[in-house]
Every structure is written in C-alpha cells, then in structure tokens.
C-alpha cells in the first residue's frame, strides 16, 4: 500500500530560521526592496529592459531570500508552498486565455488587434495585450522557481 508522505514537513525541519540576527533582519529589509524592483522591472518592461521573465525571477528571488533567512515554516504566509504549482497553472491559463479571447473576438490566436476596446487604436491594443500575457508569464516564472526551491528543499 503506497501512501503519500505529508508534504513539506522535511523542508520545515531542514530550513529553520537563521541563527544570525544580521541575516534575519537584512533579509526582512531587503525582500520588500527586491519585490518593488521586481514589480518595477515587470511593469516598466515596455519602456526599458525588463518584462515578465525578469520581473518573475526577481519576485521569486525575494521569496527565496525570505525562505532562507527566516525559515521555511515562518514564510508560509508570504507564499504558501501548496499554492506555487496552482499559481503557475493560473499564469499559463491567463496566457492561453488571452490567446483564445482574441479567437473569440474574431481574430487569430494571440492576435491582440481585435480586442473589443474601440477607444484604442490597434497599436495600443497590442501594447495592452503584451501587458496581459506578461502577467501570465510573471506568475508562472515566479511560482515555478519558488516551487522548484521548495521541492528541492523537501527532497
């Protein structure tokens, strides 16, 4: 009879809070800064180097820094380990949903120019379509990297 072990109990054992107060305080102070930079890189990806992949990696880096500094069990409120893979699926579904929304509006798959927003001209429709799918990319990359870290810790 094969039965699943309780997930992430080993990870909580292996990754406790750091014994050094410097690391704990520095990680708590740095993580919001990295998150702000990640959101900036993501939302400013239209006008400067950046975008969904880079912003997602930065957000994941902040969560992993918190996990390493404050311990695995204490940071479950920031990003619950059971939510990472479903969030990645939600990101992929946002991407595919944007594509099929264009199909429903009468265009090709991922053709943003047919979105029903008549107050915008086609180039700006493309701009907003890019923003929508970057949201999906960011969610997927962030939650997948955190999921890989959690499962490696649990392995």
């Amino acid at each position: 009879m094969i039965e699943h072990a309780r997930p992430f109990d080993l990870a909580a054992d292996r990754c406790g809070p750091s014994s050094s107060p410097i690391i704990r305080i520095a990680s708590r102070g740095l993580a919001p800064l990295i998150q702000i930079i990640g959101l900036y890189v993501f939302f400013h990806g239209h006008y400067s180097p950046g975008g969904g992949f880079q912003g997602g990696v930065l957000l994941a880096a902040s969560i992993i820094l918190l996990r390493m500094g404050l311990g695995f069990a204490n940071t479950q409120t920031v990003m619950p380990s059971g939510w990472t893979v479903p969030l990645g699926a939600v990101g992929g579904l946002i991407y595919i949903g944007t594509g099929f929304f264009a199909v429903l509006c009468g265009g090709n798959f991922l053709d943003y120019g047919v979105f029903p927003m008549p107050w915008l001209d086609p180039p700006h429709l493309h701009s907003y379509g890019i923003l929508f799918i970057e949201v999906g990319v960011t969610l997927t990359v962030m939650s997948t990297l955190v999921a890989i870290f959690d499962h490696l810790l649990d392995g």
Binding site: Y47, P49, Q54, V57, V141, L145, I148, H151, L152, G155
Partner: protein, 122 residues
C-alpha cells in the same frame, strides 16, 4: 594580428568557456560538477548569441527618439536578445530539474561519485 584580436577576442573567450564546461562534463567524476559544466556550456552558447548581435555604433534595442528607427544600423539586432531571454529562464528550470534528479540519485545510492555509483548499480 591586432585586427583579429580586436574582432574575435569575444569568440575566443567563449570557446574557452565552452571547453572548460566540456572539460567538466567529460573529465570530472562527480555528477554535481558535471551539471556545473553543463551550465557553463549553456552560458557560453547564450553569450555567443548576444555577442553575435552586437553592432559597432549601435545602441540598445529600446527606441531612442534621437535616432531614426528606419536605419537598422543604429540599433542592435533584437532577435538574438529575445531568443536568449527565454533560453536563460529555461536553462534555470532545467538546472532545477537536474538537481532534482541528482537528489533522487543521492537518496537511493548515497553517493554522487560516478565510479562508486557504477559499482553500486551492479
């Protein structure tokens, strides 16, 4: 000679990085070091694409109002940057998967050294 060094030093550096990675994959006996070598080979290939996109006198691929967009010589080639942007993230994820495989191997055989591993697999 100076012309060759000036035009090709980046390629020679990348050949060196590629061969160091290949050395790690071929000669080292520890599976972790082999994965590190694989990562170096990936980095060399990614950097090769970025170097090949460089143009003298061109700027980054963000629109500059002072430069005409019709003249392709004023901007770097954006296509290799795009392809490598996704390749980097996929490389990170494949590294994660390979680490997961290494953890499973270690959990079962209690070693990552290749000769010991082959011995225990008999």
């Amino acid at each position: 000679m100076l012309e060759i060094i000036k035009g090709y030093y980046a390629y020679f550096f990348l050949v060196a990085v590629f061969c160091i990675g290949l050395f790690g994959m071929m000669v080292k006996r520890n599976l972790m070091k082999k994965v590190m070598g694989m990562s170096m080979v990936q980095s060399a290939v990614i950097l090769f694409w970025i170097v090949s996109a460089f143009k003298d006198g061109a700027t980054v691929t963000v629109l500059d109002p002072a430069r005409a967009v019709e003249d392709a010589d004023l901007y770097l080639n954006p296509l290799p940057h795009t392809l490598m942007l996704t390749a980097i993230v996929v490389a990170v994820v494949t590294l994660g998967v390979s680490f997961a495989l290494l953890i499973v191997i270690y959990r079962r055989y209690r070693t990552l050294e290749e000769p010991l591993l082959l011995e225990k697999m008999q």
